[in-house]
Symmetry: C2
Subunit: 106 residues, 2 copies
DNA sequence: AATTTGTACAACCATTTGGTTGTGCTTATA
DNA sequence: TATAAGCACAACCAAATGGTTGTACAAATT
């Protein structure tokens, strides 16, 4: 199993989606992300590490605090993939017809 | 770790995305999905099990063959979530301003 | 009836995941 | 200068992940 670090992996986990949602309002430090999250700071830190490796967040040191900012443009890739998949949706009917015609022959 | 079975999990794996792409052209049996996939039938079967549990595919027995059909409408949830996240994008600037104003004070 | 095709099920494996606790370091604040 | 706040790093854990091989069975085909 290769450690996959992409946008799909980033949004696969509900906690990470929650983090992204929180950050969509603007930059936050780790403490603010932990707030009401229900999990420990270290747990959050691990998710932030993953999100960072996925290129979903940018980290900025400011004194003793570290601010996280979401790179929401990365989500475009997901939407693009979904649209690409659904684009073929139109073609499926002719293929289905073809398939039914073939099975009818047997 | 709870076994999460949702659309996000479904599209998290590249092999599963490949399967969905293949199925977006219409229903296929397992053998056709295995073709040129580079992994074993059993490996594919495991992914199909996951996709089924995620509600991403429908399985139909036809004689000794089993046909898979993608439920592409499930992908709407992902797009909805992404749009919801990006919608807040507009609000981030005022929050960022506020944040910068606060840090300037210190 | 024998063979091939399509599939299912189980066991096994290394790695990843998603958390936890514990320790210690640095930077503000009283 | 204490003390508190914010964070990093490491070790540990059970469970999930993403594969593999091996076996067996049902349905077509010859």
């Amino acid at each position: 199993m290769i450690e996959r670090r992409d946008v799909y992996q980033a949004i696969a986990d509900p906690t990470r989606r929650m983090i992204i949602q929180k950050l969509s309002g603007g930059a936050l430090n780790i403490g603010q992300i932990v707030e009401d999250s229900g999990i420990t700071r270290q747990g959050i830190a691990k998710h932030l590490k993953v999100l960072n490796e996925c290129g979903m967040i940018t980290l900025t040191q400011k004194g003793r605090e570290q601010f996280c900012e979401a790179r929401l443009d990365q989500l475009d890739e997901v939407v693009d993939w979904v649209n690409k998949s659904r684009k073929l949706w139109g073609q499926r009917f002719e293929k289905l017809d073809k398939f039914l015609a073939e099975t009818k022959k047997l």
